[in-house]
C-alpha cells in the first residue's frame, strides 16, 4: 500500500513518514501544494494524507485538483483549526476523513487502516481466507492461528494481493503500489518475495494461496471465509 503524505512542517512530515513506514506502508512525501498536485495526479497511490494549510497552494485546492483528474484514492485531511466550517469544506472538496491536529499516531493509523479497507471494500480489519488470516491493524499474518514472521516487504506484497483477492494483479501494479518511484523496475525481487511468501505460508504446498497467472501477474486464489 502506497501512501502520499503532504505536509509542510518538516518535523511533523518526518514523524508521519517514519510512523507509517514502520507499519509496512510505502510512503512518499512532499511539502508543497503544487508538487503534491503533480505527484497525486501522475502516480498511483492507495491513500493520501493532506494538510489543509499548505504554502503555495491550499490543501483543499490540491484535493479538488486530484478529484478533477479522476483520482479516486481515499484522502485523509489534517487540519489545525478544528471548526466545522473547515471540516465540512474539506470533506466537500473530496476528502474522506479528517483529523484535527494534534493527534496520536495510533489515531492516524486507525483512520488510515479504515480508509484503506473501505476503499478495497472490506468492512472488518481482519480478513480470513481459509486457514490464512490477515490482521490489517496488527499488521500481522496468521496461518491456522499461529503468526507467520514476515519482513516488511513480504507483508506489503501479501497485503496488497489479499486486499485485492480474486483479482489478477500485474507485476507493474504491484511494483507501483509497493515501491518508491525510483525503484528499479526490472529487478526480479518481486518474484523472490512471492516465492518466499509461498514457502512461509504454505510450506507443504497444499494451499497454493498465490497463483501465478502466466504473462499477467499474480492472484490471491483462496476464497474468503466469514
Amino acid at each position: 500500500m502506497k501512501i502520499l503524505v503532504v505536509e509542510d512542517d518538516p518535523d511533523l512530515r518526518r514523524q508521519l513518514v517514519s510512523g507509517l513506514s514502520g507499519r509496512a506502508y510505502t510512503v512518499e512525501d512532499c511539502g508543497d501544494g503544487n508538487e503534491a498536485l503533480y505527484q497525486g495526479s501522475e502516480f498511483e497511490y492507495d491513500l493520501a494524507i493532506v494538510d489543509i494549510g499548505l504554502p503555495g497552494m491550499s490543501g483543499l485546492d490540491v484535493i479538488r485538483g486530484w478529484r478533477k483528474a479522476q483520482r479516486q484514492f481515499p484522502i485523509l485531511i489534517l487540519t489545525a483549526r478544528g471548526d466545522w466550517q473547515d471540516k465540512v469544506e474539506g470533506l466537500e472538496a473530496g476528502a474522506d476523513d479528517y483529523l484535527v491536529k494534534p493527534f496520536h499516531m495510533e489515531e492516524l493509523n486507525a483512520r488510515v487502516n479504515a480508509l484503506l479497507r473501505r476503499a478495497a471494500g472490506h468492512a472488518s480489519p481482519q480478513m480470513t481466507f481459509g486457514p490464512i488470516t490477515l490482521d490489517t491493524v496488527a499488521r500481522a499474518v496468521f496461518v491456522n492461528g499461529s503468526e507467520i514472521k514476515l519482513t516488511s516487504y513480504e507483508y506489503r506484497t501479501l497485503e496488497y494481493l489479499m486486499i485485492h483477492a480474486g483479482k489478477t494483479i500485474s507485476k507493474a501494479e504491484l511494483t507501483e503500489h509497493l515501491y518508491h518511484q525510483d525503484y528499479d523496475r526490472d529487478s526480479n525481487v518481486l518474484e523472490v518475495f512471492v516465492r518466499r511468501l509461498r514457502q512461509k505460508l504454505d510450506p507443504d504446498q497444499t494451499l497454493h494461496p498465490i497463483m501465478t497467472v502466466r504473462g499477467l501477474g499474480y492472484r490471491f486464489a483462496l476464497e474468503a471465509s466469514e
Binding site: R81, G82, D83, W84, Q85, K87, V88, E92, D96
Partner: protein, 464 residues
C-alpha cells in the same frame, strides 16, 4: 439601457476625475450646453415665426389699402398715382405694390416699385392663387417678403379677376432677428455659467456631510474619537449607523480576542508547570511519557475550546438568518463520507427553518452534535426541527447506547472549566453548550425512543 454604454464610455476615459463633485460638474459642463442649444433653437424658431406672422398681417393691411383706393371703370381697374400709404410713393421705402390681371399683365405698379428688378416682377406675375386663398412667401435670396392676394370683382354678372402683390423688403426684420439672436445666445451663455456656478455651490453644500464623515473617520483612525458622533443627514446616517455598529462589534471582538488570549495563556500555564515540575522529579521514562501525553492532551483541549469560543460571534444584531436545512445537508453529506462504512440511515424531518444567528455557530453546534450521533448510533439517526413563534427546536436522536442521567448533567454542566476536566473527555458538547447559552437558548439531553441519546436544542428562530 443607455447607462451601460455611457458608463463604459466614461470608464474608458481616465481624465474623468475621481471626486464625486468634479464628476457631476463635468457632466453638467458637457450636458448643459446640449439642453441650452435645444432651448435656444426653440426660442429662435418661435421668434422667427412670430416675425413672419406680423409681416404677413402688415402686407395684408397694405392690400386692403390698395383695394380701398381701387375703382372699376368700364371693366378696367383704375388706381390713383398716389395712395394713402406714403411708402408706396417713395422709391427707397422698400414697400411696393403690383396689380396684375387674369392674364398676368401688369395693370398697376406703385411709384416705389421703380427699383424692383423686372425679373422679380415677371416671377411675381406667374403667381396666380385660387380666389379666396392668399399666399405669403419669404424670398430669402432676393431679400423680400411677397404677399399675393387674388381678387374677384363681380359687376353686372361679369367677373373681373385681378391679383394684388405686395413686395416688402426683409432688411428691417432680418436686423431685428439678428439682434434678437445675439441677445438670446448671450443670455443663454450667462444662464449656463450661472447654472454651473449654482451647481458647484449646491454640490459643495450637498456633499459636505460626506467630507465631514471622512474627517470624523480619520479622527477615529488617529484615535481621537471612538465612534462617528456628528449629526448627519438621513441618507448618510444609515451609513454612519452601520459604521458605528461595525466599529463597535469590531472593538468587542478585539476585546473578546484579548480575553481569550489571556484565558488561553493562563490556562496553558498549569499543564506547562506540571511538565516542568515532572522534569525535576525522578520519573521513569514511561511515567514521564504518560504525564507529558496527558498534559499535552489537556493543552490541546484548552486550545481547541478557547479557539472555538473566540470564533463564535456574539453580535447577533449584525448577523442575518442561517438556513438550518442548508447546514444540516452540508454536514450530513460530509459526515456520510466519513461514516460511509457504517451505512447510516439519516431521517430528516421539518428542517426547513432558519436560525437567527451566525452560520458558523450553527455549523459548529450541528457538526458536533450530528457527529456524536453518527459516532454512537447503530444505524439510525433522526434529525427534526419545529418552530414555535420566536423559537426553533432542533432534535437530534440516534439508536445507539443510552447514556445515564448523571452523564446528562456532566455533559451539559454550564460553564464547566475545561482545564479542570479529565483528559480524553470530548469538548464538543461543552462548545455547543457555550454557543447555545450565548444565544440565550437551551440544551436538553434525554433518552430517545430510538434507544440512544436525544439532544434537544432551543435556539432563536429567524425569518428568511
Amino acid at each position: 439601457m443607455l447607462w451601460k454604454p455611457l458608463n463604459k464610455f466614461f470608464s474608458g476615459i481616465n481624465w474623468v476625475p475621481g471626486s464625486l463633485q468634479t464628476r457631476l460638474l463635468w457632466a453638467s459642463i458637457v450636458l448643459l450646453p446640449i439642453l441650452i442649444i435645444f432651448a435656444g433653437a426653440a426660442l429662435q424658431n418661435a421668434y422667427e415665426s412670430s416675425l413672419l406672422a406680423s409681416e404677413r398681417s402688415q402686407a395684408q393691411l397694405q392690400t386692403y389699402g390698395i383695394l380701398g383706393s381701387a375703382d372699376l371703370v368700364e371693366g378696367e381697374l383704375v388706381l390713383p398715382r398716389r395712395l394713402q400709404e406714403p411708402r408706396f410713393s417713395q422709391v427707397q421705402s422698400g414697400l411696393s405694390g403690383l396689380v396684375f390681371d387674369a392674364q398676368g399683365l401688369l395693370r398697376w405698379r406703385s411709384e416705389s416699385s421703380a427699383l424692383l428688378e423686372e425679373q422679380l416682377v415677371m416671377q411675381v406675375s406667374t403667381f396666380q392663387p385660387e380666389p379666396g386663398s392668399s399666399r405669403f412667401q419669404h424670398l430669402k435670396d432676393q431679400g423680400f417678403y411677397l404677399y399675393v392676394y387674388p381678387l374677384v370683382w363681380e359687376i353686372d354678372e361679369k367677373e373681373f379677376r385681378y391679383t394684388i402683390a405686395i413686395v416688402s423688403s426683409d432688411a428691417t426684420a432680418m436686423e431685428e432677428l439678428l439682434a434678437f439672436q445675439r441677445q438670446l445666445w448671450g443670455w443663454l451663455l450667462a444662464v449656463y455659467l450661472l447654472a454651473l456656478l449654482l451647481q458647484f455651490l449646491i454640490l459643495r453644500w450637498g456633499l459636505k456631510p460626506l467630507d465631514d464623515l471622512a474627517d470624523d473617520l480619520s479622527m477615529i483612525e488617529r484615535g481621537e474619537a471612538e465612534k462617528l458622533e456628528g449629526v448627519y443627514p438621513y441618507e448618510v446616517e444609515r451609513i454612519t449607523k452601520n459604521l458605528n455598529r461595525l466599529i463597535e462589534s469590531e472593538r468587542s471582538q478585539r476585546e473578546r480576542y484579548r480575553n481569550t488570549l489571556g484565558d488561553l495563556a493562563h490556562s496553558l500555564k498549569t499543564p506547562l508547570a506540571v511538565i516542568r515540575g515532572a522534569g525535576e522529579e525522578k520519573h521513569s521514562l514511561s511515567s514521564y511519557k504518560r504525564l507529558v501525553d496527558e498534559q499535552s492532551d489537556r493543552m490541546t483541549q484548552i486550545v481547541q475550546y478557547q479557539l472555538s469560543r473566540a470564533v463564535k460571534s456574539k453580535e447577533q444584531a449584525m448577523t442575518g438568518a442561517s438556513s438550518l436545512l442548508l447546514s444540516v445537508d452540508r454536514i450530513v453529506n460530509a459526515l456520510s463520507r466519513v461514516y460511509a462504512a457504517k451505512e447510516i440511515d439519516v431521517e430528516r424531518e421539518g428542517l426547513n427553518h432558519f436560525f437567527a444567528g451566525d452560520e458558523r455557530d450553527l455549523m459548529e453546534m450541528l457538526g458536533n452534535l450530528i457527529e456524536n450521533a453518527f459516532k454512537y448510533c447503530d444505524h439510525h439517526v433522526r434529525l427534526s426541527a419545529t418552530q414555535e413563534q420566536q423559537w426553533l427546536e432542533i432534535v437530534i436522536e440516534n439508536d445507539g447506547q443510552s447514556i445515564s442521567t448523571e452523564e446528562h448533567q456532566v455533559v451539559i454542566e454550564r460553564g464547566a472549566r475545561l482545564d479542570t476536566s479529565r483528559p480524553g473527555q470530548g469538548i464538543g458538547l461543552a462548545v455547543v453548550t457555550d454557543i447555545v447559552s450565548s444565544y440565550n437558548g437551551g440544551i436538553e439531553i434525554s433518552q430517545s425512543e430510538l434507544g440512544g441519546a436525544q439532544i434537544r436544542l432551543r435556539l432563536p428562530a429567524g425569518d428568511e
